[in-house]
């Protein structure tokens, strides 16, 4: 079997590069018993491994085999061992159709089937595995356990791959040799010893022959060796040469490589050089500062425009050079750091130079002798203009900007120095200016030179020592003396026409009175206050124009101050670059921290910066003009002392300015300062009004005087007239309206109160007289806000007039009145008028009796005495009012007369009874009496 297998392998499978794994000698079951073919299972030696099952037939003639049919293993569907109960040699293989075979032996069959199963197991995927049926389980398991190799026959190649590869088929040559050798010694099998002997004999023979032939061929070998040696020499020679060549080529190659490297190095170096050059060029360009500039910075004359210009451009260049943003590390370069150092020293030096120069300029300006300007402005209310200073300074503008960026501390110091110097200058100027203004006021107030100069001395002293006690007393004396003077004027009764000289004389006398009396006067001040202020108000024409002068002077003062402030502010902004653009550098850190780029953030930051800048400007302005506010409020106080009424003027004037300034710039220094002043003035004004109200409330009537128009009513009228002239078109109308209202209210109360106190004059007279006066005044002034009050006054006036007339006239024809009242009563009870005369009490006789009692003469007499009384009651200079009262009397009289006549004609028709005097008579009487006065 093994031989067959061997033969099969050799003849059939090796040429096909297959390896035979299992073979079984089969015959067709049911066919002839001749075992005619072999079933072989083989695998290809090449991968991918294919497994074939082939039927091979032995040719009848000769020992050759032929493959009859070949299936692939995967075609195998069912393997039926037919051994469910007993052992048999039959088995079926089902490919495309069922083939029935019977093996030559059971063992053979088993071995083959096991081999098949193994192959299937190994090479086929699980799902396409054929079914193995009716095969003893042990067979399958055994093959699976893999012990097959040890158990299998030694001739059969193991199913293991390793075992399969170990097997080496004998080559044909060996086989034939072996066969021949065996055939030559046919006895071999029978006599092994002989065989081995012959073999060893042969071997030794062969050995000997070998040795002989080896020895025989030695010469040849030697010559061969020689040849070989020669050849070797040649070869080594060639090799040596080749090595030489190779060496040479190698040298060249390395040189070439080096050259290549060098070239790229050179290129890089070139590039680097050019870049470096470029950088250096740029750097030098940026850092270079021309000699001219350096020179300018070092020694250019800052006093001349050209020098300033040169410095400006040099400073700018320096700034630019210094601001150049150098790449990191570049500053480590010696040259760069040297240059930077140079710049720094230049900067410091120039900053110092500029600083010092400007300081001297400022100092010069600050200490400029104001005396010269003072002399020329004694009589002219002018502030010296700072325009030339500004003009002188403005060329330095750019330099200041440079300084601001370059040297912050110097800049700040410069600002301080500037403000200090200017503060000195402005303080002097403004002090002088305001002293002049005060002088003007005093002159205008028509006060005697002596007092004027005294006041001036006082004020100039007071400007030096703000609000010292000296000022207080002096100015109080001033006011008092003024009041005194006017009261004296009043006493003399000719205050309006008083010539200046006479006044001087009077003053001379009163001045001596002032000192001893001043204490007393001050005590009586409040009481006299009313009279005094009244007088100062009533002091008519020239004082009125005086006040106008005051307000015009005050206006002048402000309109001088304002442009000065504004100019200075503008100059500051320009000169010190206080604006939003350069504000970033003004606020170190502050805004950078909260850097947010949202639109709102930017807007709010900008707003913040603007506010900051305004604040900065205001701070500087406040420093420079520190004198202005106290001086101005002092001026206000001075004006107030001079004449309280001046606060009205000042209120209007400053109010106007404030609104104007407000429109211009709400937060500016000027606006703030004026605002403060305005509050001051407003307080003065309120005080003034309050004092007035107090005075009205405290007013009392002189004991033995005829009442007439009450002084405070007159005063109110004057005040309103004056205030109207001042406030006519002012924005501060509401304030004065409020004052009017409170004043008039107190005036009403005072009138009623005083009327009650009056002994000599009937209260009605006091009231209607005064209300009449007020009404006249209000009507002529036409103050819209006082319309309500005007109506009230009119009502009161009419009421009081009526009640006065009725009470005074009474019933001049007493008996007639009684008679006719009786008549009326009778008529009222229902008696017809024509029948009244038939009653005893009201007969015609009775009537005639009554009428007789009032002759024309009597009536006239009665009226005359009445008129006399009226004249006595009313004030002397109120003729018009007297006439009005008289007229009212007349009307009332005639009304009564007409009533009587009416009743007579009604009740006593055709009796021809009439009064003894006619209406014409009455009118005649009245007019006679009126004209007789």
């Amino acid at each position: 079997m093994a031989a067959i297998k061997h033969a099969l392998q050799r003849d059939v499978f090796t040429p096909n590069q297959e390896r035979l794994l299992g073979v079984v000698h089969v015959g067709k079951t049911g066919g002839k018993k001749k075992k005619s073919s072999f079933l072989c299972a083989s695998v290809t030696t090449e991968r991918p491994v294919e497994v074939y099952i082939s039927r091979i037939k032995r040719q009848e003639k000769g020992e050759t085999y032929k493959k009859q049919k070949t299936w692939q293993l995967k075609e195998l569907k069912i393997v039926n061992g037919k051994e469910s109960d007993k052992q048999t040699t039959d088995f079926d293989l089902q490919f495309d159709k069922n083939f029935k075979w019977s093996a030559s032996s059971v063992a053979e069959k088993h071995t083959f089937l096991a081999c098949l199963w193994k192959l299937c197991h190994r090479y086929l995927p699980r799902q396409s595995k054929p079914t193995f049926a009716n095969i003893p389980q042990s067979l399958l398991e055994v093959s699976v356990s893999g012990t097959e190799t040890s158990r299998g026959t030694s001739n059969l190649p193991g199913p293991d791959e390793d075992a399969l590869e170990d097997y080496q088929a004998l080559t044909d040559q060996e086989e034939t040799d072996l066969e021949r050798m065996i055939t030559e010694c046919e006895f071999a099998i029978s006599d092994a010893e002989a065989f081995s002997n012959s073999l060893s004999r042969d071997l030794s023979v062969l050995d000997g022959q070998n040795i002989h032939s080896i020895m025989g061929s030695e010469v040849q070998v030697n010559s061969l060796m020689l040849l070989l040696d020669n050849a070797l020499n040649e070869v080594s020679e060639i090799e040596a040469r080749l090595d030489d060549y190779d060496l040479m080529v190698g040298a060249i190659a390395s040189q070439m490589g080096q050259m290549k490297n060098q070239e790229s190095f050179i290129q890089i170096t070139n590039k680097n050089h050019s870049r470096l050059l470029e950088e250096l060029d740029k750097l030098v360009m940026q850092l270079d500062l021309s000699k001219g500039h350096v020179k300018a910075l070092r020694e250019a004359n800052l006093k001349h425009d050209s020098g300033i210009e040169a410095c400006t451009s040099a400073a700018e260049a320096l700034q630019q050079a210094m601001e150049v943003e150098l790449p990191k590390g570049l500053s480590k370069l010696q040259a760069v750091s040297d240059q930077q150092k140079l710049f720094d020293t230049l900067r410091q030096m120039f900053a110092k130079r500029l600083y010092e120069h400007l300081i001297t300029v400022f100092a010069k300006q600050g200490s400029e002798h104001p005396g010269s300007s003072l002399t020329k402005q004694t009589n002219e209310l002018k502030l010296p203009k700072h325009f030339p200073y500004h003009r002188d300074l403005l060329p330095y503008k750019q330099l200041i900007l440079w300084l601001k960026v370059a040297d912050k501390t110097k800049y700040t110091q410069l600002c301080t120095v500037y403000t200090q110097n200017l503060n000195k200058l402005y303080s002097q100027e403004i002090k002088d200016f305001l002293t002049t203004a005060k002088q003007r006021f005093i002159q205008q107030a028509n006060i005697d030179e002596d007092i004027g100069s005294a006041a001036l001395r006082a004020t100039s002293r007071s400007t030096l020592a703000l609000n010292t006690a000296a000022f207080d007393s002096q100015s109080r004396r001033l006011t008092l003396s003024k009041k005194l003077s006017s009261s004296i004027k009043n006493l003399s009764g000719s205050q309006q026409n008083l010539a200046v000289k006479e006044k001087k004389k009077l003053f001379g006398s009163t001045q001596s009175l002032v000192k001893p009396k001043s204490k007393k006067l001050r005590i009586g001040h409040k009481k006299r206050g009313l009279a005094a202020s009244r007088e100062s108000l009533a002091a008519s024409d020239f004082e009125l124009s005086d006040r106008e002068k005051f307000s015009s002077t005050f206006r002048e003062v402000l309109s001088e101050l304002e442009p000065t402030c504004q100019d200075e502010e503008r100059f500051l902004t320009k000169f010190f670059h206080l604006n939003v653009e350069s504000a970033d550098t003004m606020m170190p850190g502050g805004s950078d921290d909260e850097e947010d780029d949202t639109e709102q953030g930017v807007a709010s930051r900008k707003k913040y910066q603007e506010a900051q800048v305004t604040k900065d400007i205001r701070r500087m302005m406040t420093e420079i003009f520190s004198i202005v506010e106290p001086e101005l409020s002092q001026l206000v106080a001075f004006g107030e002392e001079l004449d309280p009424l001046n606060s009205l003027n000042m209120l209007v004037v400053i109010g106007q300015r404030v609104t104007q300034a407000q429109q211009d710039n709400d937060g500016s220094f000027l606006a703030k300062m004026l605002g403060n002043c305005l509050i001051e003035v407003k307080r003065n004004f309120d005080n003034f009004v309050r004092n007035k109200v107090d005075a009205v409330e405290d007013a009392h009537l002189g004991k033995n005087k005829k009442c007439g128009i009450l002084p405070f009513v007159q005063d109110f009228e004057d005040f309103v007239e004056l205030a109207e002239s001042i406030f006519r078109d002012s924005e501060r109308r509401t304030d004065i309206d409020k004052a009017y209202k409170s004043l008039i209210k107190s005036v009403f109360q005072a009138i009623e109160r005083v009327a009650g106190e009056s002994h000599k004059t009937p209260p009605e007279v006091v009231m209607f007289e005064n209300y009449h006066h007020l009404l006249n005044c209000l009507s002529s002034l036409k103050i819209a806000s006082l319309d309500q009050e005007k109506r009230d006054v009119k009502l009161r006036y009419n009421n009081y007039l009526d009640s006065y007339v009725t009470s005074m006239l009474g019933r001049p024809l007493e008996k007639l009145s009684n008679f006719f009242e009786g008549v009326e009563q009778v008529i009222e009870t229902g008696v017809r008028p024509e029948e009244v005369g038939f009653q005893l009490k009201f007969s015609k006789q009775e009537l005639r009796k009554c009428i007789k009692e009032y002759s024309g003469k009597d009536v006239k007499k009665g009226l005359e005495s009445l008129h006399h009384k009226i004249v006595k009651h009313t004030a002397e200079n109120e003729n018009r009012l007297q006439r009005v009262v008289w007229q009212h009397m007349q009307e009332e009289f005639i009304r009564q007369y007409k009533r009587f006549e009416d009743l007579i004609s009604k009740c006593y028709p055709e009796s021809h009874i009439s009064l003894e005097f006619t209406i014409e008579n009455v009118l005649q009487y009245f007019s006679d009496i009126a004209y007789s006065q």
């Binding site: 407000q662 709400d666 605002g675 407003k682 107090d694 409170s742």
Partner: protein
């Protein structure tokens, strides 16, 4: 009679004068006229006793702010007014309050937060809650008022008097005659 010095503060045009005049004189002033400074006196009965209120109506505009320190020094109680129709006027008050506390150098000052013009509900911008919230932060009282419709006007001043009484109980009754000069 005890005197109370009250100060009305706030931005321009929020109705400080309107509130004050409404309280003192019972009139609603329609016309806007920037105040410089006005002081009023009014005698009222609060907490069962007669009080003289001296009310200082101040300027709201930026220009007159320099005098604020003075008001704040002298004032005993403060009315901080904003308009419910203006967010800015509401925002300004915090600065004012800080200034008051700084000038007074204390943490607690009798103070009331007032949202005026509450009749203009249509134009409202500052909500009631915002006002209440701020007042809570300040630990002060809060009222929404209308000078025009006379809402809560008197309560402002009564509340303030109450606060002052609570903080500084009336000192020994001094026999101090009121100066008698009253602006009516």
């Amino acid at each position: 009679m005890r005197e109370y010095k009250l100060v009305v503060l706030g931005s321009g045009g929020v109705g400080k004068s309107a509130l004050t005049v409404q309280f003192v004189q019972g009139i609603f002033v329609e016309k806007y006229d920037p105040t410089i400074e006005d002081s009023y006196r009014k005698q009222v009965e609060a907490e069962n006793q007669q009080c003289m209120l001296e009310i200082l109506d101040t300027a709201g505009t930026e220009q007159f702010t320099a005098m604020r320190d003075l008001y704040m020094k002298n004032g005993q109680g403060f009315v901080l007014v904003y308009s419910i129709t203006s967010q800015a006027s509401f925002n300004d008050l915090s600065d004012l309050r800080e200034q008051i506390l700084r000038v007074k150098d204390t943490d607690e000052v009798p103070m009331i937060l007032v949202g005026n013009k509450c009749d203009l509900e249509d134009e409202r911008i500052v909500t009631r809650e915002q006002g209440e919230q701020l007042a809570k932060e300040w630990r002060s009282s809060f009222l929404e008022t209308s000078a025009k419709s006379k809402i809560n006007v008197e309560n402002i001043f009564f509340d303030l008097v109450k606060q002052i009484n609570k903080k500084t109980p009336e000192p020994k009754r001094k026999k101090k005659k009121s100066s008698g000069c009253a602006l009516l």
